[in-house]
Every structure is written in structure tokens, then in C-alpha cells.
Amino acid sequence: MSAVLLIAVPLLAAFISILNKKLAPVLLLLVSLFNIVSIFFYSLGTITIGGFEAPYGISLVLDNYSLIGLIVINIAFFLVLLISYEKVKKVATVLLVALAGLNGLLLTGDLFNLFVFIEVSGIAAYLISTTNKKYVATFNYLVIGTVGSSFYLLGLIILYAMVGTLNMSDMALRISSEGISAANLSLPFLFMFIGLGVEAKLLPFNSWVKGILGNSNKLVGPMIASVYAGTISLVFGRILTSVFVVSDRLGLILTVILLVGIVAGETMAFASTKLREILLYSSIAQASLVIILFLEGITGWAVMMVIANVISKLVLFAIASYTSDELKTDEVDNLKGIFSKNKIIGVAFTIASLSVSGLPLFMGFVVKMNVLTSIFDGEDYLLAAVILLTSIVEGVYFVRVLIKLWYNKEDAKTINYNFVIKYIVSVLAVLLIVFGTYTTVLNDQVETVNEVFEIGGNE
């Protein structure tokens, strides 16, 4: 079997699903499950499509980096489907396309192909977001997303004119062999950075996030904030580590922009009073942080941070969106005490948010500590200080939310969470604890990821 099936099967199923609307959601679940199972049977390597050897044909790269990404994203995708099954019915075909697009993003070894998948998954995301029934927000998303991908395309065209190839590894080779300076690469790189930045929620390209995630239902919330965000971060990681060499000065400028993004994200979350808004601003900060780590070359732990974010954002957004679907409000003050009646949900939410704020016993802590160790090894004291200071702000607003959601003076509102979401969030919460205490797994995975990019790991 070839990894191309991960893309081809969902696409084929998408076409079939148009024929029978009733069968579509079932087909979606089956395909998603098939993807998860099949990942474990593929062998690592580069797959050339249609027998055209790289750099002439399109190639898919299945290495340990994309493998980890595929496993995490496909499982997360499946779990989101389970949580929001009744919403899924209307957009099953779109979700199949989205699945194909996301897998494509992770697998592709070709920059133009990447653009195609950005468009495919992007259009799917616009359509998924229509289930929020906030059409203006979706329209904004559409406009900004399109502007973003045009920038990506523009950058790519310039790059092609300079280097004459679209294949990632070939491009990296030619860049070094033809001695193209990092300075000359700055312009196309910057355009592509902006293009991807729109999808990755980087400030200031991310104003769509508020409309989409701030009104998200239980499908859109976890799908965009966890699955899509994780995928785009990994794509970013691949481009930053294996294609481009960022010049010091450009790297500095980008780091500053991203640091502003972190500060902005955390302070905005601090200033917000709505649950989903707090979470979405917090995830803006997280996204910026991950990209900084990729820029700094802390690839292995950046990947782990992406995974930790995928897990915890899935839990947080699933619960937040589900709650606001039920209560039609997500003002934290109106939700006081809801967890005291839904302890399982509450504990999962608590664990996920403590993990995001980096408290021990949870996965976020292990990742944060190792990231900080690497940053200090690089003697980047200012970056470390900013990360720590913003973490204080982050912890404060999370604790504030937690206390409000657990304690109440009057009677709390009752919500019936169905058993699916209860099971899923508690399994994920347990997973956060497992990775937070049994750290050998993480260290091994970091080693494997770093080997892919031949980075001397942190031994």
C-alpha cells in the first residue's frame, strides 16, 4: 500500500458521497477510520506520483516527521467527527475533502502541490465554518484566506523563477549548491510566510479567527483550533527546517513579529470575558510560539508542542463549543459552577488548561521545560524571559476561568454532555497525564524527528 491512499481514498469517497447524502456521514467515519488504521502499514520513503521522478513529478514524503503528524492529525480528526456527529451530517462531503487536504499538506514534498492542498483544505474550512451560521465571519475568512494564499503563490512564483524547481528537497539542494544567498530568498520567503501565516493564525494576518472560533460550534471549534492549526504548524515546520535558510536579520524580524503575537495573544485572552474568545486568543499565542521554535531550530520539541496543543485544544474547544451550543452563551460569568455538576468534563478541561499553562504532571510542562532548556542552551535570554512572563499571564486567566467554572454561589446551569464527548475528553486528559509523567516516549519521538532533519538532538 502506498501513502497516497491517505489522500486518494477520502477524495474518492467525497465524490461517492455526493451520490447518497444519507450514507455520506457513515462513509466519512469509515474513511477516517481507514486512514488511521492504514497509516501503520505504510513504509517510510518518498512516493513519486505517476512514475515521474523528482524533481519533475510530484512526490509525497513519508518520513518520521510526516508520520507523527499523520497519526496525530488523523486521530484528532476522527475524534472531532465523533464529538460533533450530528453537525457532521450536513457537511460530510466537505469534511472528506478536508481530510484529503490535510493529509496532503502533511505528506507533500512539493511546494506547488502544497499550494493546491492549502486551497483544498482552505475551501473545505470555509464551508465547514458556515455551520456556525455567521456568514459574515465566513466571508471574512474567505477574503483573508484568499489574499493569504495569493501571497503564497506569488512567493512561490518568484522562488521558481530563481531556483527553477518546486520540489522541496531538490530546492534545498539547489539553494545550497547554486549559492543563493539567504538575502535573496527573503522576499519569496516572506510572501510564503504571510500566506501560511494567515492559516496558522499569526498576528497580524489572523483577524478571521475571532469571527470563526469566537462563534464556533462543536464541529468548527475543535476542527479549526486543533486539527487545522496542528497541520499548518507542521507544514510551517517542514518549510522552515528543510527548505529555507532564514538569514539572521530576517529571522530576528520574524521573531520580533511573532513575539508581539505571543504578547498580543496572551494579553487579549487576559482582557476577554468569553470562554471561546479566551481560548482562541490563547491559541494565537501558542501558534506564534510554535513557529518561533521552528525558526530557532528546536524542531523536535516544537513538534511535541504541536501535539500537546492538538490534544489540549481539542479538549478545550470541544467542551467550550459544546457548552455554548447548549447554553447559547459563553460569557464566563454566565457559566459559573457548570463543572461542579459535570465533574468528568470539568476535570478534563482543568487538566487540559493546566497542561497548556505548563504545570507539572501534564504534557505541557515537559514540553515547556525542554523547550526552555533548548532556548537557554542557545543563550536566548530575552526570548525565554518573554515566554515566562507571558506564561504568567496565561496561567492567571486560565486559573481565573477554572475557579469560576468550578465554583458558584447560586445554582449552576445544567448541561447534559453526551457520553461520547465525556469519553473522548477524559481519554485525552489521561493521555496528557501519561505523556506528562512517562517522558521517555516524548524523548524518543524528539530524537526520531530530529534525525529526519539531521539536527543534533538534545542528548
Binding site: A137, F139, N140, V143, I144, V147, G148, F151, A182, A183, S186, L187, L190, F191, I194, L203, P204, F205, N206, S207, W208, V209, K210, G211, S247, R249, L250, V263, A264, T267, M268, F270, A271, Y281, S340, L354, L359, P360, L361, F365, M369, L372, T373, F376, D377, A384, L388, L389, S391, I392, V393, G395, V396, V399, R400, I403, W406, Y407, T439, T440
Partner: protein
């Protein structure tokens, strides 16, 4: 399985935390009884194995965690676990008041686990993990009390401390190449040493509740459940003292020496802040009406004593500081427990709402009396010994400005510690509390044990001082000269047992006078003379209201300065957030496009940069 191994004790404790939760789910009271058993077990194991030198530090099951038994770690661990054990006796009596009963028992035990890990490790990373673990497990205990408001404040201040500690840890690692505590502290130098010093001080200040990071202490101690208050003041706060020893004593001097007093400038600054802490704590304690808040501010000022003594850093000063850690831990635990015993019956800790509790709870009264005598530094209690040593050190070093703070705090403490005594226990009995009885035996027992220990530390301090001398030698200072009954300071020798004997004689004479002379006449609270008018606001006539009004008037304008500062910091952060929201997150896509274009054109314009 080796039961004397720290790893084993830690894992058993952790497991029984989960067990306490499960049992607590079935029966809340049983769950809280588990907390007693576990904390007793930990205390006995630590003290017995520890002082027999039998604690095993090898690890079999916990990877990456390394342990080490040091004299100072053992001293802190036995003090704090002992406080935990004593306080745990109160848990079953209070468990019904909490919203999440089973969780309370679990988190109580988890905080104990964190404490153990911090004190018994030689590795900074392990220390930090357990430090943070303590923070979050104790954090969730707070909102179960009166109010949930102070929880976030506690988390914020604690995290400032933790992250300062973390940053310092990484700075030391960058020079020593490992997370080893001894190496890290020894090898850090230059500018990094200065930063490490500052950051460690911040961490210690945040945990001890010293100025300017003190704000959480009165709020948390006022709001938290009553037993938790005792644990915070007697136990968790002492984590700060532990960090302070690392930063203030074990780190080599980091700035220039002030010739006149032969003291490092940086240390002098910290000592100065320590004495400000004493003064602010004292002044604020004087104005409190809530007995718990009063004691909280007194904890703050006692933290100041520890800081001042540690900065001086000679043998007497360090012993004084460490002895003060012990003396204050048991005295404040006893005082808070006594208040808790009253509050359990009356549901209030406001002094103006209480009175005459001595008639209902004579033993609790005695416990409180002994505790505050110790806190005020009067013989024959433990607090006297430690304060005497600290005074000796300050005077000998020739630090007049610092000494003003130190003496002011000591005199000020007379003003405030006796107020709860007078308002709460003495005076007329309120009619609504007439039927109340003494606390049950299992609440009285730990209080009596603590009182006994307070007296023991005051009368015969020499055994414990001997142990502290070992720590002092470890820290590189000269041991204090002690014989079986005497302690020699810089300007003389004291004889605590003799002082206590004289004190005893005095008490005996007073007692003789008391029983031979005429008994006082009992009047009710309503006997107040009001010139024939009907009293509408009789609580304002309670004599504890505005007790020190003339003194308070001198500084009442300034008491909210710190609170306002932190409020404005919070508002500033939120303002920055609103700013970003306003400029970047509009509902208009053209604004985003505008920003993209701006960034691109700016970068293109600066193309020549690269």
C-alpha cells in the same frame, strides 16, 4: 521495597492521595482521616529515618529524579511535615464545609508530596517540578474556603516566584552545565550571579509573602479554609525560607562590599526590604479586624525577620533564622488552629463579633496565649530564642536602619497579638455563644502538642540548636557556642531554662495573688453605659473596634498603595489586550489586508537591511 527510601515514602504518599480521594468519594470523613494517617506516617518516617541517618536516596522507579538528604533539607522537611500532621487532625471536623470533599483530602496530601520532593533533592529540575506541583495542588485548596477571589492572586504571585526560580535555575545551569544544586550555586559568577541572586530573592519573597510580593498572604490566609490557613502559614510559606537560604546564604556575594559595615551591597538591599516587610506587616496587622488576617500580616512580618537574618549570614544570624522558621511554624500553626477551633463553632473570625470565648474554650485560649507569646518573642517560648539571636546578629553587625525595623516589629507585635486574645477570648461573653463547648479531643490534642513544643523550644532549645549548628557548619559559617543549657551570643550568654524558671516563679506569684484576692464581678456585654439611649449599633461599642484608631490614622492613607499598584498592572495588561483587539481583530477583512500590505511594504522598504 525499602521503607526508609525517600522514593518509597513519596510514592506511598502520592498513592494514598489518590486513595484518600477514592475513600473520600464513599465517605468524606473517612477520606479526611486518611490525610491524618498519611501525614503522621510521613512525619514519623522523615523524622525517625532522617535523624537516624537511615534515609535511602536511591531511586528505582522514578526516572530522572534524584534525591539527597542534607541537614537543612531534613530540618525543613521535619518542620513542615510536622505542621501538616498536626493540622491534618482538623480536617475531619471541617470537611463538611467544603464543596469538593474528596478532592480536598487528595490535594492536601499532594501538597505534602510536593514539599517532600522540594526538600530532599539535589537537582534543580526536580526541585522545580515539585515546587510547581505544590503550587497547583495547594492552589485548589484555597477556593474551598470563604471566597474564591484570592486564588488567582495566589497563583499569579506564586508563579512570579516560580518562574523567577526557574530562570535562576537556567542561569546557573548555563555556567555549571548541570542541574546540580551545589554545583549551580557554587559555579555561577559575574553578571549571571547577580541575576541569579535577584531572581532567587524574588522567588523567596513571593513564597514568604515579603514586600512587595506580600499581597496574596493576607487575602489567601483570610479566605482559605481554616486548616489550610494553618498549613500555608506554618508550612508552605517556609518553602520561601528554603529558597532564601540558597539565594542569600549559599550564593557568593555578588556586588561590592560596603566597607563601613563589611557587608555586600546586594545583601544590604535585601536586608532593607526585609525590614520594610517587618514594618509593613506590623502596621497592617495592627489595623485588622479579622483575626486570621491579623495573623497573616504577622506571618509576613516574621518572614521579614528570616530574610534580615539570612542576609547577615554569620553563625548566630543563620541559626536565628532557622530557629525562627521552626518557632514561627509551630507558633503560627497553633495560633491559626486555635482561631480555627473558634471559627468552627462561631463561623466567624472577626474580632468585633466575638468575645469571652475563654469561658467556653479554656484550653484553646491557653494554646492561643502560648502561641502569641512565642510570636511576640517573649520568654519562655521558642520565638524569644530566635528573636534574641536575630537581635544579637543585627546589633553586632551594626545595622541601625535595619535594626529600627527589627525592633519596631517586635514592639509592634505586642500591639497586635494581644488584641485577638483580648477581643476574642477575654472580655464579656456574647449571649449567642453561651452554649458553646470546648473543641473535641482530637482537635485539642494537636494544639496541646504544638503548645508543648513551643514551650520546649523556649526552655530547652539546645538540642535543636545543636542540629541547626550542623546546618550552619554545612553552610560554611561558624557554629554557635552552646552548652547544655546556655547559648552564647555576641555580647553575652543566655540561659533559657533559668529565664523560664524565673518566669515560672512570676506566674506562680501572680497566680497566688489571683486566688487570694477578691474575684472580679461579671457583667454582660449589654451593661454598657449609654446614657439611657437605646443602642442600635451595639457592635460598634465592642471595645476591639478601632482599638488603635489614633495610631492607624497616621498611616491609613497609604495602606492601599500596593493593592492599587497591582490593580493598575492588571488593568494595563488588559488595556494592551484591548488595544490589540481593537486594531487587529475587527470584523472588516480590509483591515487585515491593510496590515499585511503594511508589513510587506515596510519590509520591502527596508530591503537594504539584508
Amino acid at each position: 521495597m525499602n521503607f526508609a527510601s525517600i522514593e518509597m515514602i513519596l510514592m506511598i504518599t502520592l498513592a494514598s492521595g489518590v486513595l484518600a480521594y477514592l475513600i473520600g468519594k464513599l465517605n468524606a470523613k473517612l477520606g479526611s482521616i486518611v490525610t491524618i494517617l498519611v501525614s503522621m506516617y510521613v512525619t514519623i518516617a522523615v523524622i525517625y529515618f532522617g535523624y537516624n541517618g537511615e534515609l535511602v536516596i536511591t531511586t528505582e522507579y522514578l526516572p530522572l529524579v534524584t534525591f539527597k538528604v542534607t541537614n537543612i533539607g531534613l530540618f525543613f522537611a521535619s518542620t513542615v511535615t510536622f505542621v501538616f500532621a498536626m493540622v491534618s487532625f482538623f480536617n475531619p471536623f471541617f470537611i463538611d464545609k467544603y464543596k469538593f470533599k474528596a478532592l480536598y483530602s487528595m490535594l492536601y496530601i499532594f501538597s505534602l508530596v510536593g514539599i517532600l520532593g522540594v526538600f530532599f533533592t539535589d537537582n534543580f529540575m526536580t526541585l522545580f517540578v515539585f515546587f510547581e506541583f505544590t503550587v497547583w495542588s495547594s492552589m485548589f485548596l484555597i477556593p474551598m474556603g470563604k471566597s474564591t477571589k484570592s486564588t488567582t492572586l495566589y497563583f499569579a504571585m506564586s508563579t512570579i516566584g516560580s518562574f523567577a526560580l526557574l530562570y535562576a535555575i537556567f542561569l546557573m545551569r548555563s555556567q555549571s552545565g548541570s542541574f546540580d544544586i551545589d554545583q549551580g550555586l557554587a559555579m555561577v559568577s559575574g553578571a549571571k550571579a547577580t541575576w541569579t541572586y535577584i531572581l532567587l530573592s524574588v522567588a523567596a519573597f513571593a513564597k514568604l509573602g515579603a514586600f512587595p510580593l506580600h499581597l496574596w498572604l493576607p487575602k489567601v490566609l483570610g479566605d482559605a479554609p481554616d486548616p489550610v490557613t494553618a498549613v500555608f502559614s506554618g508550612g508552605l510559606e517556609k518553602l520561601g525560607a528554603f529558597v532564601a537560604v540558597m539565594g542569600l546564604v549559599r550564593l557568593a556575594p555578588v556586588s561590592f562590599n560596603i566597607g563601613a559595615i563589611d557587608m555586600d551591597f546586594a545583601r544590604y538591599v535585601i536586608a532593607f526590604i526585609g525590614s520594610i516587610t517587618i514594618i509593613i506587616g506590623t502596621l497592617m496587622a495592627i489595623r485588622q479586624d479579622d483575626a486570621k488576617k491579623l495573623l497573616a500580616y504577622s506571618s509576613m512580618s516574621n518572614g521579614g525577620y528570616i530574610i534580615v537574618a539570612l542576609t547577615i549570614g554569620n553563625g548566630i544570624a543563620i541559626s536565628g533564622a532557622l530557629y525562627h522558621v521552626l518557632a514561627h511554624a509551630i507558633a503560627s500553626a497553633a495560633a491559626f488552629l486555635a482561631i480555627a477551633a473558634v471559627a468552627r463553632k462561631t463561623n466567624t473570625t472577626k474580632m468585633s463579633e466575638l468575645g469571652g470565648m475563654i469561658h467556653n474554650m479554656p484550653i484553646t485560649y491557653m494554646v492561643y496565649l502560648i502561641a502569641i507569646i512565642s510570636m511576640a518573642g517573649i520568654p519562655p517560648m521558642g520565638g524569644f530564642i530566635s528573636k534574641w539571636m536575630i537581635f544579637q546578629a543585627v546589633i553586632n553587625k551594626g545595622l541601625p536602619i535595619i535594626a529600627i525595623g527589627v525592633f519596631f516589629g517586635s514592639i509592634g507585635s505586642f500591639l497586635y497579638v494581644f488584641r485577638p486574645l483580648a477581643a476574642l477570648f477575654l472580655g464579656q461573653q456574647l449571649p449567642e455563644y453561651k452554649h458553646l463547648k470546648e473543641a473535641p479531643f482530637f482537635m485539642v490534642l494537636p494544639m496541646i502538642i504544638l503548645s508543648g513544643l513551643i514551650i520546649y523550644t523556649g526552655v530547652l532549645p539546645n538540642y535543636i540548636l545543636g542540629k541547626i549548628n550542623e546546618i550552619v557548619v554545612d553552610l560554611g559559617a561558624t557554629a554557635v557556642t552552646i552548652t547544655e543549657y546556655t547559648i552564647t551570643g555576641f555580647n553575652g550568654t543566655i540561659h533559657p531554662a533559668l529565664i523560664s524558671g524565673m518566669f515560672g516563679v512570676g506566674v506562680f506569684v501572680a497566680f497566688l495573688i489571683f486566688i487570694t484576692f477578691k474575684k472580679s464581678k461579671k457583667v454582660t456585654l449589654m451593661d454598657t453605659y449609654t446614657a439611657g439611649e437605646f443602642i442600635y449599633t451595639e457592635e460598634l461599642l465592642h471595645y476591639s473596634v478601632d482599638f488603635y484608631a489614633p495610631l492607624e490614622r497616621l498611616y491609613e492613607k497609604y495602606i492601599h498603595i500596593m493593592e492599587k499598584t497591582y490593580d493598575s498592572i492588571r488593568n494595563k495588561i488588559a488595556e494592551v489586550g484591548h488595544f490589540f483587539k481593537y486594531y487587529f481583530f475587527t470584523n472588516k477583512p480590509e483591515v487585515s489586508v491593510f496590515w499585511i500590505v503594511i508589513i510587506v511594504s515596510l519590509l520591502l522598504w527596508g530591503e537594504s537591511l539584508w
